[in-house]
């Protein structure tokens, strides 16, 4: 299943947030959306997944999602969004309980995704007992449980410290090389974008418009943090964003 964004525009009352965004998200690709803070990238992600209605424009699903997909468009949130009153296994179970699955099938899925995210031994732990990195792993396990066609990630690593961020980034890369998932990855961190993105979309400051789309052909699994080619791309992206970020920083927040 591919996604196609057609002329998305959005405003909150008087404030124009997004202007004429058109973008294709192809199966098996990771599209990173970067831009200065407040440029509407999180809003765009909410629109893509149907959590918010754009003022105009359309998000199209092209092709049908695979039949085993319980929730084709699945989010991973910056703040993890785990229920504090449920254990790790029950947090994963939550998103399966509304589907017609036998108790055994549900249990199998839970065990499988917890094993894939190396969480099996923390099944019975409550979120407050876990570190930030582990919490985000649980959220990833929960997302995998519904076999999504497209993963929508809203700054999934931004709430973590830099060491944990590195480890989880490796996990995301591993997971992609195994499963070739489709993803939209919103971040303000350029290093994350060049590490994970097949395609990087640079948004301008508010109202967010597409300034440039950069494709990176290098296979994701061979990318490293100190690759000169990637560093050059990152530098170029930074130059693109620099003025925007500077100007955005000096704007008054009124959304």
């Amino acid at each position: 299943m591919d996604l196609s964004l057609r002329h998305i525009a959005h405003r909150y009352d008087e404030v124009e947030v997004l202007r004429d965004i058109s973008l294709d998200i192809e199966k098996g690709q990771i599209v990173c959306i970067i831009g200065p803070s407040g440029c509407g990238k999180s809003t765009l992600l909410r629109i893509i997944g149907g959590l918010e209605r754009p003022a105009s424009g359309d998000v199209l699903q092209i092709g049908t999602p695979p039949s085993e997909s319980l929730n084709p468009l699945t989010y991973i949130f910056q703040d993890f969004a785990l229920l504090p009153w449920r254990t790790v296994a029950d947090n994963v179970s939550l998103v399966l309980e509304d589907h017609a699955l036998s108790a055994k099938a549900r249990q199998n899925i839970i065990n499988d995704v917890l094993a894939r995210t190396k969480l099996s031994e923390f099944k019975g732990a409550y979120p407050r007992q876990l570190s930030g990195g582990m919490k985000q792993r649980v959220a990833i396990a929960r997302a995998l449980a519904v076999s999504p066609a497209v993963l929508l990630m809203d700054e999934p690593l931004s709430a973590l410290d830099s060491q944990t961020r590195e480890l989880l980034m490796d996990d995301l890369v591993d997971l992609w090389t195994k499963e070739h998932y489709t993803a939209v990855y919103v971040t303000h961190n350029l290093a994350e974008a060049v590490r994970l993105g097949h395609r990087i979309v640079v948004l301008s400051r508010r109202p967010g418009e597409i300034r440039e789309i950069v494709d990176i052909d290098m296979p994701i699994e061979t990318r490293t943090n100190d690759n000169p080619e990637l560093e050059a791309i990152q530098k170029r992206l930074w130059n693109l964003m620099r003025e925007e970020a500077l100007a955005a920083d000096r704007e008054l927040l009124n959304v």
Partner: protein
């Protein structure tokens, strides 16, 4: 920068050295378990001592031992159970009905725009009315018997529960609700598995407040014509100037309040064990 390693001893030799004074700490009162019983027992002992030596006149305040004797009289005559069961029945009926209705209406106000705009102002308008003032009306509506007493308690506990419940729902993390929607959870699932558990801590604090209100209203309602009940017992003792019985009755109420608070605490510990 010199590449000579810094000798820590040499620093302190240069001029006089002293420890940095400690300025942190404090402002963190911690409960100490033994203090409360000591204060309690000390106070009663002082009171008893004062009464025995005549320092506290028996007319003004009866000795704790006399109040205890009246209490034992109550126990032996079997009146304690008669009074207590009558009161407990009213309390349990009124408080349970008020809490269930209150949670229900609170959830409505918390979830529906229509309920919020219609009921919230109504709740705000009726909540501050002392329900005791309405007791004569309740007697006309529900009769002089149990009905009016239970209704008073129900009304008194209903409003704080409503306010606590919708306040709790308003404070549920919107991110969690959005997460539920993003995974395609049904509306009922979101309410049952995300909103209600999230509002539960607030509902429990509401229950603590409404339980105290229920005891206050219980006594007030029983003072207006009840054959049995702790409130009726206190009223009778008061009109006979039997201050020892009065103190015994008041002490029973205080213990009742403590037991209810303890029970709510137990329920909280069980249902909110996910909190640290």
């Amino acid at each position: 920068m010199s590449d000579r390693p810094i000798d820590p001893a040499s620093l302190s030799q240069n001029s006089e050295a002293k420890s940095v004074p400690f300025r942190g700490g404090g402002f963190l009162p911690k409960p100490k378990r033994i203090i409360a019983p000591i204060v309690f027992i000390g106070l009663i002992a002082f009171w008893e001592f004062g009464s025995r030596t005549g320092f506290i006149s028996n007319l003004i305040l009866p000795a704790p031992s006399e109040a205890w004797a009246s209490f034992m009289d109550l126990v032996h005559s079997g009146l304690l159970w008669k009074n207590l069961s009558a009161s407990l029945q009213r309390l349990v009926l009124g408080w349970t009905a008020g809490t269930i209705l209150g949670v229900f209406v609170g959830v409505l106000i918390g979830l529906s725009s229509l309920a919020r705009s219609s009921l919230q102002p109504l709740v705000s308008a009726i909540f501050p009315i002392p329900k005791i003032a309405l007791l004569p009306l309740f007697i006309i509506w529900f009769g002089i018997g149990e009905g009016s007493k239970v209704a008073t308690i129900m009304f008194g506990t209903f409003f704080p529960t409503v306010i606590a419940t919708y306040g709790g729902i308003d404070n549920v993390d919107r991110g969690l609700i959005r997460m539920g929607q993003s995974f395609g959870l049904t509306r009922l699932s979101i309410i049952r598995k995300i909103i209600l558990p999230g509002a539960l801590p607030a509902i429990f604090s509401g229950a603590r407040i409404s339980a105290a209100i229920a005891i206050i209203l219980l006594v007030a309602a029983e003072m207006l014509g009840a054959e049995y009940g702790i409130g009726a017992y206190i009223l009778m003792a008061g009109s006979l100037m039997a201050t020892d019985q009065l103190i015994a009755g008041v002490a029973i109420l205080s213990v009742l309040g403590l037991i209810i608070a303890w029970l709510i605490g137990l329920a909280e510990k069980y249902f909110l064990k996910w909190r640290a």
